[in-house]
Homo-oligomer: 286 residues x 2
């Protein structure tokens, strides 16, 4: 397992921003000899025209035949049916990973469909952006990103090593977490911020928007992202999002009480702590 690349065949199911970027990166880095993409109309022809895959097919079972590694880069709502469709076509030695943003439900779907058929490890590359779709895919999307691996309790060592080597090769820093801990942390750093940005954008009138500057632009950038995708993510991880929200509201309430009273101590403490924490985040090694 020291030199797993190039894989004989890599299959990527879903050619959106994440799947498309995995495909572009794997090609650029020569991580596989053959690359197969599962994509459906209307995007399939665009993906085919990009010329990066040996085969682009809308039949998921065809897409995974003879694959050493299968990367499922689909919304959770689509994952169950696709995993069911591929289970009979997978090689017994195939290794499967996914890229879903909420890992407990994704791991459950992998387990239900693949137990006894293939080996799997959950993955979540913390990358992406406010644009979705193959048109925005790029081969350097994962450089410097954190990829969180969520192995099942009975994780196969070889499967874990291959999936880790894959994300490392794409330029990620790899972290291993239980799925539940992944979901808790990601609710705080990704899902709740999205909800807050959306509520903020919707809470102001268009006259205020007219004078918005760079602070607003950065704070709310993620709010432009696909509402369908984020609705699914927020609902799939709602318990953790609500816990993170409670913690956020508690800090906000301390500060807003202090503002209401016209005393500054709680506001100043909050701003100081935030500034220190945010500056040390910028200084962390990538």
């Amino acid at each position: 397992m020291n030199h797993p690349f190039p894989l004989s065949r890599l299959s990527i199911l879903g050619a959106g921003l994440i799947g498309g970027s995995v495909a572009l990166a794997a090609r650029r880095l020569a991580l596989c000899r053959e690359l197969v993409l599962y994509s459906r109309e209307p995007e399939k022809e665009t993906v085919r025209a990009a010329g990066i895959a040996d085969l682009v097919t809308d039949d998921p079972a065809d897409a995974v035949r003879k694959a050493e590694l299968v990367v499922v880069a689909l919304p959770i709502a689509a994952m169950g049916a696709i995993l069911h469709a591929i289970r009979g076509a997978l090689e017994p030695k195939a290794i499967v990973t996914d890229t879903a943003s909420v890992k407990l439900p994704a791991m459950q779907l992998l387990q239900e469909n693949l137990e006894g058929r293939a080996r799997w490890v959950g993955s979540h590359p913390m990358s992406g952006g406010e644009r979705s779709g193959f048109a925005f895919a790029r081969s350097n999307l994962f450089e410097g990103a954190v990829a969180i691996l969520t192995p099942p309790e009975t994780a196969d060592r070889e499967a874990l090593a291959l999936v880790e080597a894959f994300w490392l090769a794409l330029g990620c820093r790899v972290v291993h977490l239980p799925a539940s801990e992944h979901d808790r942390r990601v609710a705080a750093v990704s899902h709740l911020p999205h909800l807050l940005a959306a509520a903020l954008v919707c809470s102001m009138d268009s006259e205020a928007l007219e004078v918005a500057g760079p602070g607003f632009r950065d704070v709310t950038r993620i709010a432009a992202a696909s509402p369908e995708m984020w609705n699914e993510i927020l609902l799939a991880n709602r318990e953790n999002v609500l816990l993170a929200l409670r913690s956020f509201l508690a800090r906000l309430e301390e500060a807003s009480e202090s503002l209401r009273d016209g005393t500054s101590s709680a506001v100043k403490n909050l701003l100081r702590e935030a500034s220190q924490r945010r500056l040390s985040f910028d200084q962390r090694p990538s």
Copy 2:
């Protein structure tokens, strides 16, 4: 007034990020023949060493003598004393503007100190960033930014025209607003977002922070900014910030109730509206 530049002498009081950037831009664009900067230790020597000003002084009265235009780029807490110190030294025809982020208190200080002594117009260039100080100043800081002008009720037409021409020359889009309306809008698009970003950064544990990605980085960037400066801003504009907060919490509550119930309609509506509004913000002419 069609060609007010170069001014014979421009004085900038305060050489932090904003004052320093105004100075660099005015020099690059040759908006003045003489440039004078008021700066205090410990920054004064750095500012002097930058070699952009004809005079760098820590005496505010000296700094404004013979100036056609004076730009006060100081924290509100420092403005009163400095305006008081310069009032006797201003030319009768001098025009004064400031760059404070909260305009009602700034306009009051200008009025109290300059009435009958000089003409003034409030300004707020919606630019800046998470870094403060002369070291981060740059001559293109204002390119594409919105500069909000808040003329007093009895604004002098020539003063307004000069200050507008100045920000336009620096690359700003200029908007005129009453100070109270400025403070209301800016609370929504700048001050509240800052408070939310700070509360968000402080609401999560360091384990969650470890896995944060680009979404978190953008949402919370402004939280790294100077706590002292932002504490002053939030307190100076607290009534508007609290109103904007109420409106934000109302939208957030609709969505979080819907999440709690596991129904998606309010979440989906919020995300859709946010995405549309944010995309149209990106498409606005600059």
